[in-house]
Amino acid sequence: MAKVTKNYQLKIPSQTDNLELIRNFVSGVAKKVGFDAEESNKIELAVDEACTNVIKHAYQHDTTKDIDVAIKIDYQKLTVIVTDRGRSFEFHEVDLPDMKQYLAELRVGGLGIYLMKTLMDEVEYHSKPGNRNEVRMVKYLLGRSGKEDDKPR
């Protein structure tokens, strides 16, 4: 496990056919620093969802844009930051689905942010000066830092 802060960065064109490269990068780093397969899979899926949203919503399929995926490892946690320079949105105003209702009503879509929050220990979204938006997600290496379950807060 890492003893000091380590940074890993990937910059990649905003195309759905690059999602696989992003996933391989993220799960590679996660496993390397000590997450087991199950936890690495969760991080991988959460980052896929964040990047899929950037491709679809922030850049609206403009493939000339880039996505930045940065991973920071320090003593007890992994932080992934997905940055775009496209459209921002009101993260806190997005309605998260109640899954029982969602399934009963046979709804479609709208699971990305819910999944990110379910899979990771912390998820934040920030619109920054200079038209930069970032999704910042944290997963703790040792245990679950007091969280009792996997439900989004």
């Binding site: 759905t16 056919d17 999602l19 696989e20 996933r23 397969a37 199950e38 899979n41 991988e44 899926l45 896929d48 969802e49 899929t52 491709i55 679809k56 899954m99 029982k100 399934l103 046979l106 709804r107 479609v108 879509g109 699971l111 990305g112 999944l115 379910t118 899979l119 996997d150």
Partner: protein
């Protein structure tokens, strides 16, 4: 880069769709097309064999949600079979087993239609 593959095999009134590789925002349209094709042909007794699937994201789940209402209205169904542990965990996390029958073996899913 294992990509994605989708193959169809008709058995009587049942269509078995076998998927392989990863099902994400990039490859979901291929499965969508296949299911659309089946619906167009009124072949609505569908088994999706997930044995070869190594990964699924919400874009992949969305394909199933996109067709289930229409298919059930036509008295059909989408039954799922043989997901590996990684893929099953994603279905399970979201409660999909409430909505979709998921079988360990393709044959079980086929049998269900026949009974």
């Amino acid at each position: 880069m294992n990509g994605f593959e989708v193959k169809r095999e008709d058995r009587d009134q049942i269509s078995v769709v076998a998927v392989k590789g990863y099902l994400d925002a990039h490859t979901a349209p291929e499965l969508e097309q296949m299911l659309q094709q089946l619906v167009d042909e009124e072949r609505v007794h569908i088994v999706v064999n997930l044995a070869g699937l190594s990964y699924i994201s919400s874009a992949g789940l969305g394909v199933f949600m996109g067709f289930i209402e229409d298919i059930r209205k036509k008295n059909g169904d989408i039954k799922l079979a043989e997901p590996n542990e990684k893929v099953y965990r994603v279905f399970d996390l979201l409660g999909f087993p409430v909505l979709y029958e998921i079988y360990q073996k393709e044959e079980e899913a086929i049998e269900k239609y026949r009974n």
